[in-house]
């Protein structure tokens, strides 16, 4: 495809160019749809992770030990940090072990650069050179687009044994730790949501419940009361 810089308005598109543009657009839409489902998956996982804090804060609400939003948030925050510490100490330990191993091994052997494609973990991966994708042609006018060059194919090297141990440990520990961080954020969001629901919507819930009991409910009141039955807080203290 050649984009004319002299007359930018006139763009000559061949059949091949049209097919390529069509494919690129389809790919973009596909990427957006995949991103939507991945985002949906992440939000669902975060909701599931956030609900874990319910088990730790239910008792203080049901027994009436905490009756205001500020105390609830403080108490729930402490519980959340404690949970985070409980969950994150193992992946932190794993990462620490990997780092200690690398420090000791590299100090003994003088090894450096564990991510190098020749003597590092990248020797096990396909590596492309993206620097040649966009270039200027010899004429000096225009823009040349090319496919990236394949620079490395997977192969084992004995020199990179330290990286073969260090990088997987770091990857596992790092991803595990990030998941616990995500769980912490999810629980924090759930705490904010709960404090709103428990302490600020009680009047609406009470009215809805009263109307249901009196038999003077509207459909909206009935729906609200039905939703409230699944809530944590109940006037009678039952879940």
């Amino acid at each position: 495809m050649v984009i004319s810089m002299i007359n930018p308005i006139l763009i000559k598109l061949t059949e091949n160019d049209k097919r390529i543009i069509f494919v690129i657009l389809a790919l973009i839409i596909l990427v957006l749809i995949i991103a939507a489902y991945i985002g949906f998956l992440i939000t669902k996982i975060m909701k599931y992770q956030g609900k874990k804090i319910n088990n730790y804060v239910t008792d203080v609400i049901v027994t009436g030990v905490i009756t205001n939003e500020k105390d609830f948030k403080q108490y729930a925050k402490k519980k959340n940090w404690w949970l985070f510490y409980h969950q994150a100490r193992i992946p932190a330990l794993v990462v620490l072990i990997g780092v200690i191993f690398y420090i000791i091994a590299s100090s003994i052997t003088g090894y450096k650069d564990p991510f190098n494609k020749d003597t590092g973990f990248a020797s096990l991966l396909f590596v492309w050179d993206f620097s040649v994708v966009f270039s200027v042609p010899e004429e000096g006018v225009g823009l040349l687009i090319r496919w990236p060059e394949l620079v490395n194919t997977p192969h084992f090297t004995s020199e990179a044994w330290i990286s073969y141990i260090f990088v997987p440990i770091i990857l596992v520990g790092g991803i595990w730790y990030l998941v616990t961080v995500q769980a912490f954020i999810a629980r924090q969001l759930q705490i904010m949501k709960l404090s709103q629901k428990i302490f600020n919507e009680q009047i609406e819930r009470y009215v809805a419940n009263q109307n249901v009991q009196n038999g003077t409910y509207s459909q909206n009141d009935y729906n609200a009361a039905e939703e409230n039955m699944g809530d944590i807080i109940n006037k009678n203290g039952s879940k």
């Binding site: 749809i33 939507a36 985002g39 027994t63 030990v65 940090w81 994150a88 932190a92 616990t180 954020i185």
Partner: protein, 233 residues
């Protein structure tokens, strides 16, 4: 088609929100590292002071107290074991409605009116040390369980008597008489006066077991159920 467009829009939003999410994630991760380090050091300090990070907060303590209070109110056990006497294999169980001391339940009809706390115990030990009754058949070490077996034997004998040959009846009768003589004192003791643990002033009667012993009656009278555990050989 609408769903597809919605998903495309959601994907677009998620892609835009992704960098912000990554920023929040990275900040929380760095903060989490510091918090981890702080809590690790704190846990070491708490460990040496005999506490731990998992200790309950003041709110948790209140919740526990409230729950225990509720649980205690709700539970009303019918029987509460007051005391067990392992030597005698006796378990004395009193109903929760009546507060009865063990001494009152055991020595109810035996303790005199001017009884003090120490006297029943003295009586018990004095009676145990007295001479054993003379019986022809060997006595088992614990006499408390003699009631039912003897009663059963006699009942069986009586049942057997109906089905055994007539000449045998006389022999069994003689045996009964002999056994009766071996166990019954010359004094005609009324069954109602004798009770388990009735070691009191009628010392000679302490080991005499009456045939008419009825544990059900005792339960009604005293509000105390006495059960006998298995005796180890």
């Amino acid at each position: 088609m609408v769903e597809l467009v919605k998903n495309i829009g959601k994907g677009f939003l998620y892609i835009i929100a992704l960098p912000f999410f990554l920023i929040v994630l990275s900040i929380t991760a760095v903060l989490g590292l510091f918090i981890l380090l702080y809590m690790f050091v704190k846990s070491i300090f708490l460990f040496f002071t005999g506490r731990s990070l998992s200790d309950e907060l003041p709110e948790d303590r209140k919740v526990r107290e409230i729950k225990e209070g509720k649980i205690r109110k709700e539970s009303t056990p019918e029987h509460v074991v007051i005391e067990t006497d392992k030597q005698e294999n006796i378990e004395i169980i009193a109903k929760s409605e009546k507060e009865q001391k063990i001494e009152d339940a055991v020595f109810k009809n035996v303790v005199p009116e001017d009884d003090s706390k120490d006297e029943p115990e003295e009586i018990v030990f004095e009676e145990l040390n007295r001479e054993e009754p003379q019986i022809s058949e060997p006595i088992e070490e614990e006499t408390n369980k003699e009631v039912e077996p003897i009663q059963i034997e006699k009942e069986e004998d009586k049942i057997l008597d109906n089905f055994v040959n007539e000449p045998m009846k006389e022999e069994t009768k003689i045996e009964e008489i002999q056994t009766d003589n071996s166990f019954i004192n010359n004094d005609n003791i009324v069954a109602e006066e004798i009770k388990i643990g009735d070691y009191g002033h009628n010392s000679a009667d302490s080991r005499i077991v009456e045939d008419t012993y009825n544990p059900e009656e005792e339960e009604e009278d005293n509000g105390v159920t006495i059960s006998f555990g298995d005796i180890d050989d």
